[in-house]
């Protein structure tokens, strides 16, 4: 039985378990003078049966599937002829891949010899046996669980408490997934990054001024020893983010001020959702817009003034990234401006100040921590933004602060290093993880500072 069908069977079985458990509890209840004499309502007895039917069987099912493939592969390898088994691990892997391809009917890289065919048949038969035994075991466990609960259903069985405990456990398990995600990110990125730093010293990575991550494929190749100094990459990231902030902060902040202090209700109701549309547009669309419309426009405009503008200028990417971040800044500043108490405004008006004076001298200073927090979050967003820079910024790592030049960013490098075929032992691929680690650390620090600042600020007025 194939695993999907087995899963459905299990689902059906536990639905049946629910029904049987409920029936049984009615029967038991009626024997003891009515359902009200049971400890729990009949649904809970049904649920308990269903849970006992499904959970142990599911645990076995997933463990089996998890280990099945590696066990079968080892069995097949141990049956291969000796000359093949003594191959180095990577060659052996190729052979195993070929066998698996043969089994699933894909195109095989080499020619098919009878030994290979036999191994494939062996693999096939093993996996058939494994699936069959899995089906039997899972169904037996499910039915056993169902029978067990059926037998112990009695007026004293505290079914509701059992079911609730299981549900609570599931809720707790779900809420820890966030922690496991963070741990997973840190471990996976750190592990590969440490492997990278074993080859390239950390000092070279942090202080080197030259970035050209091409490694020689053959030892005798000329001029491609690779240079992993990340300074130009980080400078590029900072340059593009700075341009983005120069666009987004004034526009976003002024829009927020106008919307929350000047605009009438109707104007606000129309314009705010329109601004939020900007936030909902996928970044790949912004990237297309930057590469196809903004970049040529900037190049042509620069040409008119006799400037030599690169067609992948930092300015184009930064400008469009700024547009993307406008709604982010405006909605965050809108929140903090609205949180400033009315009494501060009224105090300023009472002293005779105009609206703009109130805003500039009372509201903005009062809201400043919140606004700074929002800007920090926006910076971390700009640093981590990928698609706009992949499509509109360049690959060449120039160490420059001229916005008309081509620069590259951390995210662009991660994408170029990891898209396509990879070998996980070359520094070229591992470098992407080192960059990813840096990216994660920097954005994490920015986020934590921003969250602390915003929280402090909120407490101030609550």
């Amino acid at each position: 039985m194939n695993p999907t069908i087995l899963l459905f069977t299990l689902l059906m079985l536990s639905a049946m378990g629910f029904y049987l458990g409920r029936q049984k509890s009615y029967a038991v209840g009626n024997k003891n003078g009515g359902v009200q004499h049971l400890h729990s309502r009949p649904t809970y007895y049904g649920s308990l049966t269903a849970l006992w039917c499904a959970i142990p069987a599911l645990i076995v099912f997933f463990f089996w599937l998890f280990f099945e493939s590696s066990i079968i592969t080892n069995l097949v390898i141990s049956n291969l002829p000796d000359p093949i088994r003594e191959l180095p691990p990577d060659r052996l892997n190729l052979v195993v891949n070929d066998i698996k391809n043969l089994v699933s009917g894909n195109i095989v890289s080499g020619k098919i010899d009878p030994g290979m065919k036999a191994a494939a048949d062996h693999y096939q038969s093993l996996s058939t046996v494994s699936h069959a035994s899995l089906s039997v075991i899972v169904i037996v466990i499910a039915i056993a669980g169902m029978m067990l609960v059926q037998r112990i259903i009695s007026p004293d069985l505290r079914a509701r408490n059992h079911v609730e405990r299981v549900i609570q456990f599931i809720l707790i398990a779900c809420s820890t997934i966030a922690i496991f995600t963070t741990i997973g990110i840190v471990l996976s990125v750190l592990y590969e990054a440490i492997r990278f730093f074993k080859v390239i010293p950390l000092t070279e990575f942090v202080t080197g001024l030259d970035w050209s991550p091409q490694m020689a494929i053959r030892a005798d190749q000329v001029g491609s020893s690779g240079a992993f100094g990340s300074v130009p990459v980080f400078m590029g990231t900072i340059l593009i983010s700075a341009i983005a902030m120069c666009v987004a902060v004034p526009i976003g902040l002024m829009s927020a001020i106008y919307l929350s202090e000047y605009a009438g209700r109707e104007f606000r109701n129309v314009v705010k959702p329109l601004l939020e549309i900007l936030a909902g547009i996928p970044t790949v669309v912004y990237g297309f817009f930057a590469a196809l419309i903004v970049a040529p426009m900037i190049r042509d405009t620069g040409g008119v003034f006799g400037l030599d503008v690169s067609s992948e200028s930092a300015l184009a990417a930064g400008l469009v990234m700024g547009i993307m971040i406008i709604p982010f800044i405006s909605s965050l500043s809108d929140d903090v401006i609205n949180a400033v108490p009315m009494s501060l405004r009224e105090g300023a008006y009472g002293l005779g100040s105009t609206k703009s004076e109130t805003i500039r001298q009372v509201i903005i200073p009062a809201a400043l921590p919140g606004i700074v927090g929002g800007v920090l979050l926006a910076v971390s967003r700009a640093i981590g933004e990928t698609m706009i820079v992949v499509m509109a910024a360049g690959m060449a790592a120039n160490l420059t602060v001229n916005p008309l030049n081509t620069v590259t960013t951390v995210t662009v490098q991660i994408v170029t290093l990891l898209v396509g075929d990879q070998e996980f032992d070359s520094p070229k691929t591992l470098a992407a993880f080192a960059l990813g680690l840096m990216l994660f650390i920097v954005t994490l620090i920015l986020n934590i500072i921003a969250l602390v600042v915003v929280r402090k600020y909120r407490e101030q007025y609550e």
């Binding site: 599931i170 779900c174 590969e192 002024m254 996928p282 406008i326 981590g384 986020n447």
Partner: protein
């Protein structure tokens, strides 16, 4: 007396000072207000330019130039009995040569053949396989034109520039013009764009493959992230004791919400592909990565929805003897559901537009086949847009914009649904 005098002079001069400064201050006020309006206008202008440029580039892809060929299914040219492997390219070439008998040299023949898309052969192949008795007959068939022809007809290629600066030479333009005169060229609705998979030829490329990939990915994301997100929110909001452990979870979730999406791609590559050995380019892995990415959004929205349910509901349920779990599942959860669904839809819309993490797990491959399941190699709409945006052909520019329009339509629909849900079920307690 003198005191009064000085104070009245003072008052007088104070008022003077205020009066003098007033017009300056009012000007400053006007300027400030103007900056506000200018900022809003600037952002709305960006929005407008973005939409207009994409729509004006993209609407052309809804139509595709077709050429009417009189195809004769000559069994000599088709060669052999097997209709599946017959020489359909030869049939197309033959019918083109019949229309322009003056073409003799190999080079001219080649440039004549290139007016018609290589997909034309597939079209007549399908016709013949459905109706095998057409062999030996001649019939008129509309076949798709090559993308260069298409661009010329749509007016993106200038006819009056020097020959070396355009992709079609003078002879080819003459042929197309004579075909136009005979009424054999027509723009028809581009159905292939909505039903085909990816292709190297712009005129044959479509978004159906990517749409299916997106659909499978979204299904996985929805089925994992909604239950898990709601369950975590329930635990954190309703059951969790306030202690260090839950504080850590909270800080974690807030941080994950702001981690760059590409880092989730790195996680997927290192954990799902390299450690667990899951298939590359599969919607299954894409869905898992997007689940981890959208979970924080859903959890935060669900917690807000739970917070907005008034405590009186909980107290009433507890008061009539419901257990804590019954209170939450029977009373609090249904009331918070609309808010949770809204948050989930918004999270899904984010996931649908996400590209970067999917590049990391190999969903960026060139895939022609329409994926049929969650483990088939596939790509998704935003990645398809990214791939097409990289192609140099003018025909792909048009199709990229059209694909963006389709993607934006989906996003608008999802967000409209979220707004509707919120409007319909929003309760003020």
């Amino acid at each position: 007396m003198s005191d009064n005098l000085t104070s009245s002079i003072d008052r007088h001069s104070n008022t003077d000072i205020v009066q003098k400064g007033l017009s300056k201050r009012y000007n400053a006020e006007r300027r400030f207000k103007f900056y506000g309006i200018a900022a809003i206008c600037a952002s709305l202008m960006f929005l407008g330019v973005l939409f207009i440029s994409i729509a004006s580039n993209g609407y052309g892809a809804l139509f595709q130039t077709h050429i009417l060929l009189s195809v004769s299914f000559d069994s000599d040219i088709l060669g052999g009995e097997d209709l599946k492997r017959a020489n359909y390219q030869g049939v197309i070439k033959n019918s083109l040569l019949k229309m322009f008998p003056e073409v003799k040299s190999r080079r001219e023949k080649k440039s004549l053949y290139s007016l018609v898309s290589s997909g034309a052969a597939f079209k007549i192949r399908n016709i013949l396989i459905e109706n095998p008795d057409f062999v030996g007959q001649t019939m008129d068939v509309w076949v798709p034109a090559d993308d260069d022809t298409d661009m010329l007809i749509k007016g993106y290629m200038k006819r009056d520039v020097p020959e070396s600066e355009r992709r079609l030479n003078n002879r080819q333009i003459e042929w197309i013009e004579s075909l136009e005169k005979e009424g054999r060229v027509e723009k028809k609705f581009n159905l292939a764009f909505f039903t085909a998979g990816d292709s190297r030829e712009p005129e044959l490329a479509g978004i159906w493959g990517a749409t299916c990939g997106s659909f499978f990915t979204m299904i996985i994301t929805l089925f994992l992230s909604f239950p898990i997100g709601v369950a975590s929110a329930l635990y954190l909001e309703e059951f969790a004791p306030k202690n260090r452990w839950t504080d850590i979870i909270e800080v974690n979730i807030n941080n994950l919400a702001a981690v760059p999406s590409i880092v989730f791609g790195l996680l997927g590559l290192a954990v799902f592909l390299n450690f667990f050995g899951m298939p590359r380019s599969a919607p299954l892995v894409g869905g898992l990565v997007l689940t981890l990415m959208t979970l924080p959004t859903i959890i935060i929205a669900s917690r807000a929805a739970l917070k907005s349910v008034p405590p009186s509901i909980r107290e009433a349920a507890l008061g009539v003897g419901a257990s804590k779990m019954q209170t939450v599942i029977h009373h609090v959860l249904p009331l918070a559901m609309p808010g949770m669904l809204t948050g989930t839809i918004i999270g899904m819309a984010q996931a649908l537009g996400e590209t970067a993490p999917l590049l990391m797990i190999g969903m960026v491959a060139f895939i022609v086949d329409i994926p049929g399941g969650i483990t088939d190699p596939s790509t998704v709409l935003p990645v398809q847009i990214f791939l097409w945006a990289d192609s140099p052909e003018r025909g792909f520019l048009e199709r990229t914009s059209a694909a963006i329009m389709v993607l934006l339509t989906f996003l608008v629909l999802m967000n409209a649904l979220a707004v509707m849900l919120r409007k319909k079920f929003e309760k003020r307690w």
